[in-house]
């Protein structure tokens, strides 16, 4: 999923200070699952904003709505009847959702309520960790299902650097050395020979190297 965290309240208040009627839009996909921008968070932020501004002497109206997905135009269209009289929109989706809302409603200022973080998995209740960087050419098959691009601080392709100590990365005790994990996993699989194979320099054009990317499915696209 795409993970995100809510921005500090102070920052959000600065965005909306000039406005009196706000539409706060949540998303029922990834940001719900990572407890950053679902219906509950929308409700909490709406009251938080109202209370904070009321304490400062301003009363604002916050309309709340949560879309099934903010990154699909059909869902974003649902907001039309709610936008009447709204001064600004605040999106609690990831960056994709914010941009989609902004693209559709060109006359309204649209602000992000979240900081979009990474593509990750939940390690346990309340903990998410980065797992994929979207390099465009997956090599998990060679690395025992553990990604050295997303999980090695140096994105090394052929084994650990000299900073790997006791299974930890040199940047922090909290971070596992991806290559130590890969080695353990390959050993478990009896595929140590994979480790010896030299991976040539990666072609980063499949990733961000060649600018913004797009997928076109000829069979689906009209």
């Amino acid at each position: 999923m795409i993970t995100a965290e809510r921005k500090p309240l102070e920052e959000l208040i600065e965005y909306i200070r000039p406005y009196r009627r706000i539409l706060l839009v949540g998303c029922n996909e990834c940001v719900t699952v990572c407890a950053a921008g679902g219906r509950k968070e929308v409700g909490l932020l709406a009251s938080g904003l109202q209370m904070a501004l009321l304490k400062a002497g301003t009363s604002i109206e916050v309309r709340e709505h949560t879309l099934e997905r903010q990154c699909d135009p059909e869902y974003v269209e649902e907001l039309v009847p709610m936008l009447d009289g709204v001064d600004a929109v605040m999106s609690m989706a990831c960056g994709c959702g914010v941009q989609e809302v902004a693209r559709r409603y060109k006359d309204k200022p649209v602000f992000p309520a979240l900081n979009t973080k990474f593509m990750g998995a939940s390690e346990r209740q309340g903990v998410w960790a980065e797992r994929c960087m979207g390099c465009g050419n997956c090599l998990l098959g060679q690395t025992g299902g553990i990604c050295p691009i997303a999980r090695c601080a140096k994105q090394l392709m052929n084994g650990p650097c000299g900073g790997s100590t006791g299974g930890h990365c040199e940047i922090s005790e909290e971070v596992d050395c991806a290559w130590a994990l890969i080695w353990e996993r390959l050993k478990d699989l009896g595929q140590q020979d994979r480790y010896v194979e030299i991976t040539p320099a990666k072609d980063w054009r499949a990733g961000k190297g060649a600018g913004p990317r797009k997928i076109i499915r000829e069979d689906l696209a009209e």
Partner: protein
Amino acid sequence: MHNTNTSNNRVLVIGGGMAGIRTALDLAEAEKNVILVDRAYSIGGLMTQLDRTFPTNNCDLCTLSPNLSESSRQEHIELVTMTTVTDVKGKKGDFTVQLETAPRYINLDKCTACGECHKRYPEWVRFTPGLDHRAPTCMRYPQATPQAFSIDMAKCTDVKALMDTCPAGAINPDDFGSNREVKCASIVFVPGGALFDPSHLDYLGYAAQPDVVTSLEYERILSASGPTTGRLVRPSNGAQPKKVAWIQCVGSRGLQKGAGQYCSSACCMFALKEAIVTKERFGDDIETTIFYMDMRTMGKDYERYYLRARDEFGVRFVRSRPHSVLRPVGTDNLVVTYGTDSGAHNVTEEFDIVVLSTGFRVADDVRILAGKLGLDLNSGGFPKTDGFNPVVTSVPGVYVAGVIEAPKDIPETMVQASAAAIMAAGDLAPAAMAETVEEGEADQELLPPEFGVVGEEPRVGVFICDCGENIGGVIDAAALAEYAGTLPHVAVARLQGHGCSRESMRQIQQIVADEKINRVVIGGCSPRTHEAKFQEVIRKAGLNRYLLEIANIRDQVTWVHAHRAAGATDKAKDLIRMAVGSVVRSQPLADHSLPMNKDVLVVGGGVAGMTAALQLADHGHKVYLAERSATLGGQAAKIHRTLEGNEVAPLVRDLVARTEAHDNIQVITRALIVDHGGLPGMFRTGMQTGRQMFYRQIEHGVTILATGALPNRPAKYLLDECSQVSTQFDLQNLIEEKPGTVRAWDNVVMIQCVGSRTPDNPNCSRICCQNAVKNALRILEINPEARIFVLYRDMRTYGFQEEYYQKARQAGVIFVRYSAEAPPRVEAAGEMVEVTFTDPVLGREITVNADRLCLSTGLVADEDGNDELAMIFKIPRTADGYFLEDHVKLRPVDLPVPGFFVAGCAHGPKLIRESIAQALAASSRALTMLARDTIDLGARAARVDRDRCAACLICVRSCPFGIPFINADGYSEIDPAKCHGCGVCAAVCPAKAIQLMQFEDDRIMAKLEELFERNIA
């Protein structure tokens, strides 16, 4: 109360204290009919007068009063107060009893306990024994059952004035009382204990000195409902005391003129409790001292309580029986004179209050009544009971429980009360079942079908109680009703006097039907006590019972803001507006229920397990008895005889034979429990059985854990190193099997508390003191010339065991105290053992060359076995490994997981007859559940909105019971039959897809909006 028929197929319970209430409730819940007779005008007995109870220091009234009102609600119980039993005739199965009811001068059907009569004459309502005078009208405490007052006509000087104060017209000066004859099949005699009156003991100064009080009076001084409303002051001058002393064993252990020979069992603990509560209130500003002989904290976890009193609270303990309590002329303070081991001279010390820990005795009228029942009594006037079943008396069909059996504290009283209930139920003819089932069905048929309200415009009926002066005396209830009428959706709003009176309930029901009301708000008292009643009313009117909201304008408004009428009225309006806002959003809900499995799993095939299995099998239930070892019998099979001299082997043989032969019992030996699932009423337990460890699964409705405890065998004092050293267990074998060896002994030494009351195992093993006394007396029977030394820390021969302790002392057994800091030393010396200890009286060391050293090693929890079972069944344990019951005082055999009960030493160390009583109690409690045909789950369950669910798994991960799962359609599903209604998932759901029925967000938000509307607008 509809069981006023003349059928004799019911149980008469004599005494409405804790024991009587528990017995009556157990019987009623098992669908047996009961008449509960009490001499007092409200039930509750002694416990209602206590301030707090050990070891949790909970407020007593708060723990007790729900039990009392539960009792009044029960349909199978006919409650007859202010009534004495004057004669008993007949035999088991067919008793005829004469009852004499004294006049109450108040019509119970009309009295609403509004308190007008008491308010008009504030001097008249009293409840504090010994510290005040009795009043003409008297309700003992606010939560009394029946909730009605009583008038002492002899004291009332102006009947007319009194009658005029009663708004309900309930006062009836022409009440002459009544006599009646009732028939019953069995009788449970639970009159409780009276307290020793120390007035005649001049040297304690009780009669002359106001600052010398009994412990019950001290409880009243501490109690918030007492004469000082909870302020601890000296009765003589109202000043706060600085030093308080307790004197133990007043009226017990045969010490004073008129005292019982027995130990009263509860006094050490209540003195500790009173001292701790005193310290909690005043901390460093007060000194507490307890003068004692032996600290008898032998109950479950009681030793820890004692240690806490000493180490955490700084309660001072002086082992001494004070010589006198005097107040020198011209002084304010009491002077206590006492001697100790440490010097030849008496010490004098001043105290502000002296509390006499008075013990229990049998009241004279109870002794007379016991005579009418034909019971054989012991020297103290207590009924003699069966050696292995403490609730069985000398008269078949008459059972006892609680203090009348022997002095004891509350948990054991509750155990015996439940045990007596199942014994008494066993004497009923089976017809009782069919009869009541028919009645139950008849009640069901009377309910009209529910109206459909979904989609209908809400029509709210608001009913405001004035509750006599309770509400109407503070706020303008009529104006409140008028205000309610102006709120949106309100169709009817009216003042209803006492909403909970029968007449009002009938009116509400009528109005709901006539005015087509589809939502109801009651402005009255607490939903905790009254929600069920009003739910019943609207259900009878054809409304779903969940279309109700209660605004607690009594507890939350008039009681807490009694002196601020204007503000209180505003707050009451807020609460009513909130309730209306919420109730219009309420939806009809269905109660969930499942069929009840009536089979039973008993784990453990010792005396407790077999007793429970046999009882429930006799009541017609299929019982699976799972035993870990290859044979039945448990630890009792290794014991020869009890302190009282009863042979244990025939008991065990008989139990095993009956258990194995019973058609309803399936014995599974070599059974190892491996998994468990399901819910109360329909459990599934898997076990590996037999030599081949075949797996099998059993379905059952309830579970009784009777897994026992293990004999302790610590490596201390040369045990298992020297052949002259053995445990008391080994010793009794030697006595019974090789008396010749015993005859050759000159000196025998016993050491108490070996492996108990130590840092590793802080609790007392309870059974060892009587064990030592038993074995010492047996040795002297065989070898009267033997010299026996018992080295002890505190002799804990509670109850009637005390008489055997005294007998042992008289027979020449030498009891020598040792302290934990200076334990005896033991050395092997050829064929002998040298035991060296300090004699506290001589103040020097003594060495005894003993032929035999016996260690009182007690019992320990089966750490591995219990740990395994606790994990599988999800049941908590105490720090020392025993299973932890739901409530140490009031629910001693119910485990916290519904449908689980504990019996015997799995709960804590105990004697055989105590284990049997507990097994009977566990079966009685199990029977209350097994009597139901369905498992009632209520309507409070979480509901998922599938369209909103993002399948994020947060509910799956946070549910404490593991109920939600993501179903094949990709959204979270919560089975209402399994949901516990805790609301955790509803709170954490990030998609707001889960609602807890009865507590839906929109209802809570509606309340908040109504409340804060003014502020935000």
